[in-house]
């Protein structure tokens, strides 16, 4: 029901080719996350699906029908904006009811649906208030309420949690995931935060400079990144990259190994290094170690480790977890 397909989609603003070419398939019911650094085109891609921007070339197919020329109002999609975009002069009730009013539904049907949505999102007590009287999290929920009440073919989220504080963000992440399980509707979610991507997605689309670098499930991207960019983008803290003699010893241009896959010992190991800054988070410790070869590596240690700034340590990467990259940054197999 809620399948979306992008065929050869391109977008240029004047001379700037924001999206050179994208082919993408989104199955019905999937939670797909577009992720990438600022300016990679993820929001533009979302807006092309929504119809808020015209494609420069290519087709947007929603539910098997070519929707490329269809105006946004007729695409039966719902969008949650980063700034929530609530109507300031209307009450919460009217905000949520607005899409139903636009499609010409009966007053009773509208009331039923608004009340149902409000109940799902814990907004029943706030229906009479105006947006300016609500907190950030509440406004967020009103925006979501307005989106779900239409029973759209798919939901589009444009960095919806960016404006919330850290604690609230974690809560809302869970709520949105829970919503997806409940409604089973396709959701396309844009974020620059790879933690959100990893925790919420069925499928992640990693974008850079308008190009799709890789599409896959979170763990697929984690274990088998196709290139240097994806390897460095997914996973926090970032994967360690080493070149020079060490990479040559592994017969490639660059090797990469994640902080959690590097063993550390005070007396023996493959590489020698000096401890720099240590970040103690309680459950983990992250050590920044300056290796003899010159690079600084991040190493994750389970629990606590008794080292001081300037101590000499030895690092050993897990052989099975070393990623090898060629001169173009592509992953070498084998």
């Amino acid at each position: 029901m809620g399948s979306i397909r992008l065929e050869g989609v391109q977008k240029s603003f004047g001379d700037v080719h924001v999206i050179p070419n994208v082919d993408l398939d989104i199955a019905d019911g999937e939670f797909v996350v577009f992720v990438g650094p600022s300016g990679c085109g993820k929001s533009t891609l979302l807006r092309l699906i929504a119809g808020l921007e015209d494609v420069s070339a290519g087709r947007v197919i929603i539910d098997g029908e070519n929707a490329t020329e269809t105006p946004p109002a007729k695409r039966r999609l719902s969008m949650v904006f980063q700034s929530y975009a609530l109507y300031p002069h209307m009450s919460v009730y009217n905000n949520i009811a607005f899409p139903l009013k636009m499609s010409g539904e009966e007053k009773d049907a509208i009331d039923q649906k608004v009340q149902a949505a409000a109940k799902t999102l814990n907004l029943t007590d706030y229906l009479d208030r105006k947006p300016r009287q609500l907190s950030g999290g509440q406004r967020q929920r009103v925006a979501i309420g307005r989106a779900i009440v239409r029973q759209p073919v798919a939901f589009l989220f444009d960095e919806p949690l960016s404006n919330l504080d850290a604690a609230l963000r974690v809560n809302m992440r869970l709520e949105i995931s829970e919503l997806h399980h409940q409604l089973k509707t396709t959701m396309v979610y844009v974020t620059h935060d790879q933690v959100e991507a990893m925790t919420m997605a069925d499928k992640i689309v990693v974008l850079q400079a308008g190009n799709v670098e890789q599409v896959g499930s979170p763990l697929e991207l984690y274990h088998h990144p196709r290139n240097l960019f994806v390897a460095g983008f997914i996973g926090s803290p970032k994967m360690n990259f080493l070149g020079g003699k060490i990479a040559a010893a592994h017969k490639c241009h660059t090797i990469g190994v994640r902080p959690e896959h590097v063993g550390i010992d005070k007396t023996k190991g493959d590489w020698q290094g000096t401890v720099g800054v240590a970040e103690h988070l309680g459950a983990d410790t992250f050590l920044h170690v300056k290796a003899e070869s010159g690079e600084t590596l991040t190493v994750r240690v389970d629990g606590e480790m008794d080292v001081d700034h300037g101590d000499k340590v030895f690092l050993t990467p897990e052989p099975a977890k070393i990623h090898r990259f060629d001169t173009n940054g592509l992953t070498l197999q084998g």
């Binding site: 808020l52 015209d54 105006p71």
Partner: protein, 290 residues
């Protein structure tokens, strides 16, 4: 934000405004230009004929023309001086903590909203009249001979009246600009040891420079066209002592019915205004980027 289907619609929605203003500009302007090269008087319309630069040379060699130009410059210059300096001082004053700020502001800005004909007549009769006016009464009270303002100092009187009307405008603009000055900048300079005079010269004045320029440009454009005040008080007189360029052209057109001459004068007025407008447009353009 714009998609194809909103774009054609938007072009359609802009067209009435653009079209109307375009016609409003082009038609009269080209007519003025045309008539300026014609010898045409409404009292003898049958004698209309091409005149080349006759009107221009006649206009420019008319002694009234130079009087009008110099009067215009004095009028604009005088009002600018009074309103800018006065405006800065009043803005500084209003920026201070005062009891009843709201009411004081209302008192300061009221003259701008009085229609020019009323202002002029009130000043002419009730203040400046040499027999019954307030100024006359004050002079007599001090034992001095009352001044016949409008007869003896016509241009100065007009300057005073117009400056009274425009002072609120300058004050309001400069006050707005003043209040947009970051409080922290002033505090930082105080920490650096600057006293009030220093702060004024090095921090406040440069910040106001932009607003002052805008006020000068906008006032100049409107002051070049001062008309009603002159019509209602001195009628340009005595002689041409208080005639500005606008009034001169008006007389030529609607009193002498000299269409050709008035049009030539009109072209000159437009050129003058354009010079100022170019500078103003550049300032606005810079701001539209923001």
């Amino acid at each position: 934000m714009a998609t194809a289907h909103t774009r054609t619609l938007s072009r359609f929605m802009m067209s009435p405004a653009v079209l109307l203003l375009f016609l409003w500009m082009i038609v009269p302007l080209s007519m003025t230009l045309f008539f300026s090269f014609q010898r045409y008087n409404l009292l003898h319309p049958e004698r209309q004929r091409f005149g080349g630069f006759f009107n221009y040379s006649f206009f420019v060699t008319d002694p009234a023309f130079f009087a009008a130009i110099s009067n215009t410059l004095i009028l604009v210059g005088g009002v600018l001086a009074i309103t800018i300096i006065g405006g800065i001082l009043l803005a500084l004053l209003l920026d201070q903590p005062i009891f009843g700020q709201g009411i004081v502001r209302i008192l300061f800005i009221s003259p701008f909203f009085v229609m020019p004909t009323v202002s002029a007549l009130v000043w002419k009769n009730m203040l400046m009249n040499p027999v019954f006016g307030i100024f006359a009464n004050m002079s007599m009270g001090l034992g001095l001979k009352p001044i016949d303002w409008l007869a003896d100092f016509p241009l100065l009187s007009i300057v005073i009246i117009v400056a009274w009307q425009w002072l609120p405008f300058a004050t309001l603009i400069l006050l707005t600009a003043l209040q947009s000055l970051d409080e922290e900048q002033k505090e930082a300079s105080e920490m650096d040891g600057a006293n009030f005079a220093n702060r004024f010269v090095f921090i406040v004045l440069p910040h106001l420079a932009r607003a002052i320029t805008v006020v000068i440009l906008i006032e100049t454009i409107f002051l070049l066209s001062v008309f009603a005040e002159i019509l209602v008080t001195t009628n340009g007189g005595p002689g041409v002592q208080s005639t500005n360029l606008t009034f001169l052209i008006y007389g030529r057109a609607l009193l002498n019915f000299d269409i050709g001459g008035a049009s030539a004068g009109g072209v000159i007025a437009i050129i003058l205004a354009n010079i100022v407008a170019i500078f103003l447009m550049r300032m606005i353009g810079r701001n539209l980027e923001a």
